[in-house]
Amino acid sequence: MSGDINLTLKVWRQAGPKAKGKLESYKVVANEHMSFLEMLDVLNEQLISEKQEPITFEHDCREGICGSCSMVINGQPHGPQTGTTACQLHMRHYKDGETIVVEPFRATAFPVLKDLSVDRSAFDRVIQAGGYVSVNTGQAVDGNSIPIEKDLSLKAFDSATCIGCGACVAACPNGSAMLFTSAKVSHLGLLPQGKVEGVSRVKGMVAQMDKEGFGMCSNIGACEAECPKEISIDNIARMNREYTGAMLGSE
């Protein structure tokens, strides 16, 4: 077919959380119109027809909004295209005959479950520790009843685009979750509705982040470079400010 490309894939195969994994080689014919995940689907069909175990990988929306897809492609979380999730990466970026190495996200707080799938529930617990705004039940309030400065709402929105994929942790040589946590702290804390719980939020989320065993930020900037939503490390500085203020200033 026109646009077909022959690829060699080296994929991390690991039977379970405790099993020892290794890279396995596969040949696959992909079409340049496929997404990266569709190419993996083709490979899996091939494996199933050969009575082999298909590769486990996570996916849901396949349109770059859910944050499920998680894999490191040739050393880069979500692959080579900036601001793009793995599911939105297309095979036209690869040439015939290329070898692609696919590995799971690596961090102690994200243990491998199987093949390319890792346990990211640590992020859920960080969110539970303060990543919310409490609202009263009853009649819905008018969306525009609280005036918000345009610049602030834009900043909050930029931070809110974080899809919780964990690529920042995967990219960070320290396995730090500062970009994710700071995006959530900023997204809520910048807005008047979120300011109310600002102090307890930043304290709670940072404490949980530390408890989960994520590393510390050395300001390397790999997270920002690999984040599919291009979340800025300005958020990390903002969280450091808020956290210092909350820990030293609050009563």
Binding site: V72, S176, D210, G215, S218, N219, A237, R241, T244
Partner: protein, 227 residues
């Protein structure tokens, strides 16, 4: 005081310790260089010797000096602890090393810091140890009838040795790399990030990390080629 301990043992608090101690050491380096530039004056070391004698005997300076030792130790211990914690938080490495626009120095601060520590220890052995604990072996200089240690003679003795000269130049190069990331990083850790000021801070950081080690390097080179 539990809250204070909680703060300084949190991931962010520990980085605040790194940045505050780092900034103190940056300030120290600046003052140290200004003092040392007196070695370039062509007066057989008179200005430098009088300055050294003052620094060694002034109470306030001595208190700051103790603080300086304390901060170096704190920065070192915390830096090494961070290194091991971060290494274990990463767990395993990727088969393919990632290519992205991050600097080498930012990923090797602990290695650079350890080399800086080796440099500091060598330097203390050459001068601090000699003047404090081995003063009897030092030549004396006499100005207006007052005898003080001839620090200048010791400096010239050490720095005109080609091997020590090479060690000093190497140590300064390592320091330059440590600072090239450390200066800007310290402000980011403190949360001092601003659209208008961050580019200026980063520019000053780059300039500082080149000019300060260069300023220090001129001294041994000058002494080596003129004495």
């Amino acid at each position: 005081m539990g809250w204070l301990l909680n703060f300084f043992t949190s991931s962010i608090g520990r980085k605040i310790i790194m940045s505050l101690t780092g900034i103190f050491l940056i300030l120290f380096l600046t003052v140290h260089l200004i003092g040392n530039l007196q070695l370039l004056i062509d007066d057989e070391g008179k200005a430098f010797n009088i300055y050294s004698d003052f620094m060694g005997n002034n109470t306030l300076i001595q208190i700051i000096s103790k603080g300086n030792f304390f901060f170096i130790i704190l920065h070192t211990i915390q830096g090494i602890l961070l290194y091991f914690k971060n290494k274990s938080a990463k767990g395993s490495k990727y088969a393919v090393s990632p290519k992205n626009k991050t600097t080498w120095a930012s990923k090797n601060m602990a290695l650079l810091g350890t080399l800086v520590l080796a440099f500091i220890l060598m330097h203390l052995g050459h001068f601090f140890y000699q003047f404090k604990f081995n003063a009897a072996a030092q030549a004396m200089a006499s100005y207006d009838g007052v005898q003080i240690i001839d620090s200048y003679a010791r400096v010239v003795e050490v720095l005109t040795d080609p091997i020590w000269l090479a060690c000093y130049l190497l140590g300064l190069a390592v320091l330059a790399f440590h600072l090239s990331h450390g200066f800007g990083s310290a402000f980011q850790s403190l949360g001092l990030n601003h659209k208008k000021y961050t580019p200026i801070i980063n520019f000053v950081g780059k300039a500082y990390s080149i000019l300060i080690p260069l300023g220090f390097a001129i001294i041994p080179l000058y002494l080596f080629f003129t004495k």
